[in-house]
């Protein structure tokens, strides 16, 4: 009498499709998955603890490294939380440029997602195509901040500097051609029978389950829940923009794929509206208690230098209290919860990373399916280990 037993397979932390250092311990019955246990923490850097020993300005570079595929968006979430705490008004131009950069970030994060998701399922060409377009966004990053990934461009009260003159034209050119490139990806994937076979009906999670798990972002909207913080709880000036929020019907991987592609097209439209609104003006609030002085003052006057030194070395004291600011990151709701005891450093900074919460659903979504489906589920959840492990 033959007996059957399950096989335990250790997937990761070094594995081509776990998108970083995620480790999954799988119980397999043949190729059917009976149990998934994620093990996280291989990329833990203690961002929350480090933040307790840094001034409010010094925490900003740490946020670049959370979801390293969407650095500007992480900056935005943190900056908005601090501005809420300090009650700082941001100039119009800075707000508009922030939205342009946030949506460009959404585009580039989704581009990396479509690339890796397609590669996981075996479509190699889309990977290269999407990285080609991402490169353009990276160059725009470099143009305004000097860095490709860890941009650290926003400041409490505005931006670190104004954008160069060519910025508007280059962004405009990019969003003119971007929808055509999206058509290319769709041409390779959306109607491809093998792609449909792999994604339709894969990783189904119902709307109730999605809410129960606390899913946010495209993973939630793919299940048909119409919830987008940009529209339903606007921040940073999003209330001035018109855009559609796509939702899925079938709650499967294919719907989440469609949702993200529509989001990319909508992001292009938001950037277009923002470019039309962009007017010359200051990019940093006139609030010497909190904001850095303009660079020309620092270089040319002793008062400016002292001002810069004070802000850079001891920061600014924040009023006692607590704030929470959630932003719609490309991957879901990124929240910053700051507790201040009145000092120049937060007493506690709690980050709510979307990938960390979304990862919970992995077992629910892949139970009873095959290894190949699990790979598709990891791709469709769009996790980044930088913000899961923090």
């Amino acid at each position: 009498m033959a007996t059957t037993e399950t096989m335990t397979l250790n997937m990761g932390p070094q594995h081509p499709s776990t998108h970083g250092v995620l480790r999954l311990v799988l119980e397999l019955d043949g190729e059917i998955i009976t149990k998934v246990t994620p093990h996280i923490g291989y990329l833990h850097r203690g961002v929350e603890k480090l933040s307790e020993h840094r001034t409010y300005h010094q925490i900003l570079p740490l946020t670049d490294r959370l979801d390293y595929l969407a650095p500007m968006h992480n900056n935005l979430g943190y900056i908005l939380a601090v501005e809420k705490l300090m009650d700082v008004q941001v100039p119009e131009r800075a707000e508009t440029i922030r939205i342009i950069m946030a949506e460009l970030t959404r585009l580039q994060s989704h581009l990396v997602w479509v690339a890796c998701h397609a590669l996981d399922i075996g479509a190699m060409t889309v990977f290269i195509y999407a990285f080609r377009e991402r490169e353009t966004v990276m160059e725009l990053y470099e143009l305004i901040s000097g860095a490709r990934m860890t941009s650290n461009f926003f400041r409490v009260g505005g931006l670190s500097q104004d954008v160069p003159d060519e910025f508007v034209k280059r962004v405009s050119d990019f969003i003119d051609v971007m929808p055509g490139y999206l058509d290319q990806y769709e041409g390779l994937l959306t109607t491809n029978p093998i792609w449909l076979k792999r994604t339709v009906g894969n990783g189904v999670i119902s709307a109730e389950d999605a809410i129960d798990f606390g899913l946010t972002g495209p993973a939630l909207r793919g299940s048909g829940v119409d919830w987008d913080l940009r529209r339903d709880n606007p921040y940073g000036g999003y209330e001035k923009y018109q855009f559609k929020v796509p939702v899925g019907v079938e709650c499967d991987t294919f719907d989440r794929y469609k949702v993200r592609l529509v989001e990319m097209r909508e992001a292009c439209k938001i950037i277009r509206q923002a470019l039309d609104r962009l007017k010359p003006g200051p990019v940093l609030a006139d609030n010497p208690q909190v904001c850095y002085p303009p660079k020309e003052n620092v270089y040319n006057s002793i008062e400016g230098l002292i001002h810069h030194f004070k802000i850079a070395s001891e920061g600014f004291p924040a009023p006692e209290g607590e704030v929470y600011q959630g932003v719609e990151n490309p991957k879901g709701e990124l929240g910053f919860y700051i507790v201040s005891d009145g000092g120049n450093k937060p007493q506690r900074l709690r980050i709510r990373p979307p990938s960390f919460v979304n990862l919970q659903a992995i077992e629910q979504m892949s139970l009873g399916s095959m290894i190949a489906d699990l790979v598709a589920v990891i791709g469709t959840l769009d996790i980044v280990l930088g913000e899961i492990d923090r």
Partner: protein, 354 residues
Amino acid sequence: MGIEILGLPMIYYIAMVAKVLVAFLFVLLTVAYATYAERKIIGHMQVRLGPMRTGWHGLLQPIADGVKLFFKEEIIPSQASTFAFLIAPLVALIPAFITFAVIPFGGTIELFGYKIPLQVAAYYDTAAGQVFDVNVGVLYILAMSSLGVYGIVLAGWSSNSKYSLMGGLRASAQMISYELSAALSIIAVFMLAGTLSLGKIVELQSGFGGFEWYIFKQPLAALMFFICSLAEINRTPFDLPEAETELVSGFCTEYSSMKYAMFFMAEYANMITVCAITATLFLGGWNGPFAVAVPILGPIYFVAKVYFLIFLCMWIRATVPRYRYDQLMHLGWKVFLPLALVNIVVTGIIGYFI
């Protein structure tokens, strides 16, 4: 030239060795440069350049790769079953190469008054005045290609690694299922040809302008055979046994150095063989304009057809995603197998009435 061995003149033996060498070198060089071509072609399809550094436009890349792999450290996992682990790459590689023995790559040429057919396992019998080749050539090919799967199964099992095991299991299931469909789909060709000898099948397709090619008489069989062959040799979209994003490298996860290179060579050699068989059975083999009158054109036409099919394989790889294991089985057993059977019946009925 008066020496005779076993009743045959010396030139036969010299020609035979020469043919073996030529065919082997052809396959070996094509294997090396198919890897280069694949990288270049897919590179250009993906708006990048592919290898550019080693030699002019990266032409020395396959040689550099070979040298690199040759000098890599041989790693045999301590838990592996050593003998099987060592023998597996050979078991995969040898059948891939010897399949070429029965494929005719040209017509009959005349050297020093002796007629030599351009097919490794064939000779011209002066007494009978005709060419004899392996009269069960297709059966031989099917048998050899089934042997190749043992190498992969052995590799997967002997590595004593879970990813390898899953890759080996996937490979054996996939190759066995698709071999059935592939074999059944070409039965329709034998029903038309009435012979299993590949030389005869090529001759039968020599009609005017290529309209005698079996791809026009049996388009369904041609399509099915090509797709099933892709599955049998683990090419995209059926590259599940070595699906990188799922099983790391599948059955060759634990292999390194020259043993890994052997699996790689086996894969490309299999691709060339399959393309050569498809060209022979469906695209008229070495036939083409003036191929009979100018015998040297035969091999050129044949190679051109084979290379075109190889290009097709690479094009497919750049375009489509990968199937899932159960979907692959579904396609093999529930789509291709019934279709192949229906094709045989239809061919039989039409053949009976015409």
